[in-house]
Amino acid sequence: MTFQFTPENMKEAKAIIAKYPKGRQLSALIPLLDLAQRQNGNWLSEEAMNYAADMLQVPRIRAYEAATFYTMFNLKPVGKHLLQVCTSIPCGMCGAAQVLKTCKDRLGINAGETTKDGLFSIVEVECLGACIHAPVVAINDDYNEKLSSKKMTAIIDKLEKEC
């Protein structure tokens, strides 16, 4: 399986690289990995990481290092909707455990797993930076705030229906 940027993403990648001076291409690595992850169905394959590193002419190991360091990069395929449940202290105090349990029960999977139909994945994440509206669950790029068990079930139902 080979990975390659689509023409639009290629244009974007070039714009990202142009932001940094010559000899500092490594700085563009994380935005490129992000771009690659978005194009690749929300996860980074080895090919995608190699592609980004080769494009910047940096050693491939630098891409592996960055991708494994940040938990926002998924190294395995994930479901279409990635439920990122914040379990840090403020969310935890406002009932994140209950929200997480609801997700698990409703979908029948544990944190770090994907449903059989490939629609949902659950991960536990650290603070999402929206403590004022705790508890928070980020689904892909969208934040769902002030959640309860009921609201969470409704959101999952809605997403399931849309598919």
Binding site: E46, P59, I61, R62, Y64, E65, T68, F69
Partner: protein, 687 residues
Amino acid sequence: MTKLVIDNQEIEVEEGTSILQACEQLGIKIPRFCYHDKLSVAGNCRMCLVEVENMAKPVASCVQPCSEGMVVHTNTSNVKNARDSVMELLLINHPLDCPVCDQGGECDLQDYAYEYRNKGSRYNFAKRQMPNKDLGPLIKTDMNRCIACTRCIRFMDEICGVPSLGGLYRGEKLDIGTYVSKVLTSELSGNLIDVCPVGALTNKPAAGTYRPWELRKTISVDVFDAVGSNICIDTRDNEIIRVTPIRNDGVNEEWISDKARFAIDGLKKNRIDAPYVDKVQADWSEAFNQISEKLGKTSPERIAVIAGNMVDCESMFAMKMLMSAMKCCNLDCCQDGSVYDISARNNYIFNAGIAGIDEADAIILIGTNPRKEAPVLNARIRKRLLKGDCSIALIGEEADLGYPYTHLGNTPQAITSLMGVEGDFAYILSRVDKPMFILGAGVMARDDGAAVHQNAKILAHRYGAVRTDWNGFNVLQNVSSRVGGLDIGFVPPEGTGYGVHGVYEGKADVLWLVGADELDFDRIRKANPNVFIIYQGHIGSAGAENADVVMPAAAYTEKDAIYVNTEGRPQTAFQAVFPPGMAKPDWSIIREFSELYGCKLPFDSLAELRALMFSQVPVFIIEEHTHQEIMTSYSSYLNDSTMSNAPFKPAIDNFYMTDTISRNSDTMKKCTEQILGLSSKTYSEGA
């Protein structure tokens, strides 16, 4: 200059010196794991904490630069407490397997654990478990022992130029590895064993065979390439256990090549331990009688002697004396057929010196792949490049050298075109102060070798590389006996003698090989089917198989000997173990034979031989050596300086198997197969 006070002692240091370096200048020992003075500074182990007045917290002395008026304390209870805590943290996940760890006894972590936090652990939970890696046939990993100092990552990045190691994942799960499983492909990867402060990366071939305190250390010189890296041979009883580098900033800094470190198992089998006459085991007198009978019946001009690639200076000198006593002048120390003008030493040595690379501001490699021919020297070129303001160009076959370079072409024509003023690199060369030209020894083995040599010299003059304060014209030799042999004059005198080429033409009836195996024996036999071959050497390979008389000689680990490296630096190697069976050092075989043959050589011991040699070849006097040879004479010894159009070919095909010892080594076989993906059988046959 910056003035500061460390432990009540005043010191003045250069700007940019770190506190740790200043402490070292005062002789104050600061514990460290991640700091290594040949690598970039990471500052992540925190073991080197010191207290600085008016700073709120202890500071890491390896990253903190000295500043004016700073007052530093390195031995207060605060410092001790801080380091105790760091030590406790580092030991949380470190297994208590010192009794079975190869690093035990020479481990930084073990040593510092005695000094700091020596009261046991407060950690009662399960320790982190890390899977071990397969990094190839040379490095054994035990990742549980890793303390994440990242020295190995920086070493592979900065020194080797093969960035294949990285720090994966984060926090407690930090894992040093390659992510995609692969072997390390650097020729210097063995140095990771020394770089690693703990037992995470250890010597795989020697795993579990020794404890450091049992080993007897002998100073020696690496003979697998012409760099002459300083090595320490560790032995137990009469067995070589391992080879480690000795620091010499003028030669090898702290590194040695993988061949120097791991090919030693090639010395443990297939050894010639007794003389053989017509493939039948004999004793010394039989062998000597056979030889003297044959030599007596042969006229001197039908006798030829060829010295191999690892022969020491004393042996070649003794051989030359024997042959001149016999009125024979057909000597050659260049098995590959290269011909040098030995009237001036600067024609064949690395004139600028290996340390001179640090000063060069443009480097042009001609017909050489230093990564294979001299990996340690190649690391020095890379180091120079990383320092900045240096351009590197290659004329020769394109290859991954571990650093970027401008490729100027693959034929001698590129030298001619560089003579002109046109072209980017010619422009760079005309502007730099200290250009450096490195001509590979492989070039000299070409038919037009002398012409290329001549033109490269003209090129060096053209860009002002040869002047009274700088000689940037260098020949990079790739075998350890070459410079010594040329210094002694172990070459046929022009017009009156012949060397390897004459042997291939069938001019010799008796061929005496001193450790020479890299010859085309089929061609020799074809040219003269009646040739009588005498071989003295240490491993049964092509030379011994084709010989009529075989004499057992000592290998480089088994004798005291002088070797001259590519920059013309004579260095002494000492005997680490005894030679097997009846084997003797080459010079003593020659001396004994001379007495029997009735032309007794005028020395009875190695000391006497050396005194004689020093009087005739004064450049070998070790105390008087200076590596800077300034080219004064500019002899144009060639009438025909036309270069052919043939592309340059690499002098070394497979780095891991270049000589009898490394071809005989199981470790090197594994490297050939697993790292290069080649079949080792192709190489083990010999040239």
